[in-house]
Each structure stands twice: as structure tokens, then as C-alpha cells.
Symmetry: C2
Subunit: 204 residues, 2 copies
DNA sequence: AATATATTTGAACACTGTTCAATAAACCAA
DNA sequence: TTGGTTTATTGAACAGTGTTCAAATATATT
């Protein structure tokens, strides 16, 4: 079946061409400028074609969001080298914040935008990407607890709290709610408040 | 000038009629269904009329966002009765979380959506509503520090960190990122992690 | 009553996501 | 090579979006 193999290959090629164009537009011009028609223009196909490779716009953004998690995962890979759990937690926070600042639109898509979650809801799927990332964090927090941090606390609640703290800092920035903070650039205030959070955990 | 007085009154009346209809649509059907045409339909005027009372859609949502801050402010008023700064901080957090859960769309508009911030940017205005709220929080955190909490920390960084933690918990919920947390309803996990945060501050 | 001012209208512009009948291309058997 | 079948692609159409603006209407003043 050499012919049907090629056809299969061509189908996945056009699919990834659409995805590549969508991601390029998304990263260069933001989610607002990434319309179906703009993607179609970029690859010189008609808008209708896109709907033979993706069920809707949300599914395209869900795939881009997944690529975002792969990129974040790569950056987190270095954490394997950090044996001390609390050092690993600190390093993880720094990588997370750095990723958010260097990939604002991608972070937005991964953790704020509705599109990827709407897609999962429609497909009745789990949020595997988020789950895997949360599991890594949970494991690190558990290591910290075994070393005496977060004394008398519940693992799941602490893990979510740690995530929330960092996510909060980042998103208040991304959505321009940091104007109210004195004497710091948006970048500085996030790093200062992250240090502040770490101090809080250390000083138990 | 009785006539021009009445005309002035009629102008502000139509203006607030637009705003009232916009807020009703916003609260009942969400921001997506609140289009200029839907607002115009609701008050039985043509879409063009709205642009004689508001410069654009963002300015309407900015005004609704301001009403949201007034409502949050009212709920925060009871905090004057709590003299102990740390008790006040805890109570403030609970009111903030309760407000977010009971007014999800409004919280979204106040702290996540771009619209109100885009309006301020265009008008070259300060975010007075956010500023006032942050000032109240800063004052409470300062009180806590004077009582020995957040030892050796910087006021501005701690205040932002506290806000971030609570904002993070709330927004991960509102944007459906809590599926990854085990054995809790979205509501429960937020309260558990808020308690977890409070414990962290207490156990210094 | 005629003029001047203020208000309101709704069509038009340039977009959006999505659908679908029609067209074009590719493939396969005779 | 021809004819028929399957597959891929098209682009117009639908129902919506924010926004603008000349024209029509309503109100007020002389």
C-alpha cells in the first residue's frame, strides 16, 4: 500500500503545515491576529481546508498549548540534577517564571486562555499536560515535606498553594495589574515577591 | 437654564441606561454575549447611539469593572471592625475569595480581562480602583509586620506575594486549571490551600 | 413658521468562526 | 487511454463582531 502511505503522509504534512503557520502567527502576532483566514492565507489554502484537518479553532490552539508544555518540560529537565528537594523547588519556580516572561503569549494560552480547556471539555478529555506538570511539582513538594518543610500541612493543598503563588505573580503581570506596586519594574516585583515567598517557607 | 439642565439629565439618564443594560447582559450572559448590538437591542436604540455616550466597548467594560470594585469595597468595609492586623488579613482573604466565587465574571473583568486595562492605557489613566485595593492590603500587611509577621521581609514584595497567592488560587479555578488537583472540589481546594498559606505565615 | 441645533439612525466597512454544495484533482479498473 | 469513483479543495454564504458616518429625525430657538 505505497500509495495510501504517501497519501497518509501528505495528510499529516498539510496538518503540520497548518499547525506550523498557526504557531508562527500566534508567536509573532498574538492570538488575536491568528484567525482561520490568516492561517489559510499564510499557507495559501482556502479557509475551508483547515476544517478538514482540525475540527475547530480551539483544537488548533489546544495543540499549540501542548507544544508549549513540551517546551516548558524541556526547560524543567535540568531539575533532575538538583537532588535537594527545596533547592529543586526554588529552581523550578525560577524556571517557571522565566518561561512565563520569555513566552508571555504561550503562558497565557497554557494557563489563562479558555480555548485549550474548552477543547478538552468538548472531547471529554483529561488535561494530561497540566497533570504531568502538577505531578512533578507535587513530587518536589513531597520531598520538601520529608525534609521538614511545610510542617503539619497537607500535600495536595500545599502543592496547589505553591503553584497559585507563582501563577498569581506571573498573571498579575501578564494582565497588567502590577501598576499599583511601588518602586519596582514588573520584572523586579515578581522576583522580589518570589524571594519573599521562599523566605516564608524557609523561616519555619 | 432649566431646559439645558433637563437635556443634561436626559443625557446622563440614557448613558446610565446603556450601562445598566450592559451590566445586566454581562452578569446574566457573560462578556461574550454582551455585544454593542445586544446592548442596543436591550434598550431599543440603534448601535450607533451607544457611541455617542461611550467612546468604545472597552470604556463600557471599564465602567462595569469600576462598579465591581465598589461592590468589593462594600464587602471589605466590615474589615474596619477587625483590629488585629493578622485577623484582618485572614478575613480579607476570605472576603476576596468569596467575592471571586460569587462573582466569577466580575472578578474576571476586574483582574484578568484586558478590556479595562486597555481603556486606561488609551486614556493614559491610572488604575485607581486597583491602587486603592492594593493600598488597603499593604496597610494590613504592614500591621502584620509590626506584630512580627513576615520577619525580615520587604513590605511591597510581601504585599504583592499575598495578593498573588490568593489571585492565583482563584484564577486557576476560574480558568479551569484545577482538574489536576486530587480529591477535592474546586471550591474545597482553594479553601484548603488558603489555609495552607495562612499556616505558612503563622508558623514563623 | 422657519431656522438652527442636537440626537438618532441604519447602512456600510472590515473583520470573525464555521458550513457545505460545487469544483478540481487524483486514483483505479477496463 | 478512457470512464468512473473517490478524495481534496474551494469559495461563497451565514450569522455574528466593533466601529464609523452621512442622512434623517426630533427638539429648541428666533
Amino acid at each position: 500500500m505505497g500509495i495510501s502511505d504517501r497519501k497518509e503522509r501528505e495528510k499529516t504534512e498539510l496538518r503540520s503545515l497548518i499547525l506550523k503557520a498557526a504557531k508562527k502567527l500566534f508567536l509573532e502576532q498574538g492570538i488575536e491576529k491568528t484567525s482561520i483566514r490568516n492561517i489559510a492565507d499564510a499557507i495559501e489554502y482556502s479557509p475551508g481546508t483547515i476544517y478538514h484537518y482540525f475540527q475547530d479553532k480551539d483544537s488548533i490552539f489546544h495543540e499549540i498549548h501542548t507544544e508549549g508544555f513540551q517546551e516548558l518540560g524541556k526547560k524543567m529537565a535540568v531539575l533532575h540534577e538538583v537532588e535537594n528537594p527545596f533547592e529543586r523547588l526554588k529552581a523550578m519556580g525560577k524556571i517557571y517564571i522565566k518561561f512565563a516572561f520569555e513566552n508571555t503569549d504561550m503562558y497565557d494560552l497554557m494557563f489563562i486562555k479558555q480555548a485549550p480547556m474548552d477543547f478538552l471539555e468538548k472531547m471529554d478529555c483529561e488535561w494530561d499536560e497540566g497533570q504531568a506538570t502538577f505531578d512533578v511539582l507535587r513530587h518536589t513538594v513531597q520531598g520538601c515535606m520529608e525534609q521538614g518543610y511545610f510542617k503539619g500541612q497537607e500535600l495536595e493543598a500545599v502543592t496547589f498553594m505553591v503553584w497559585s503563588a507563582v501563577h498569581g505573580m506571573v498573571t498579575l503581570n501578564l494582565r497588567h495589574r502590577c501598576k499599583v506596586v511601588n518602586a519596582h519594574t514588573p520584572d523586579e516585583i515578581v522576583h522580589a515577591s518570589f524571594q519573599s515567598f521562599i523566605k516564608l517557607v524557609e523561616q519555619q
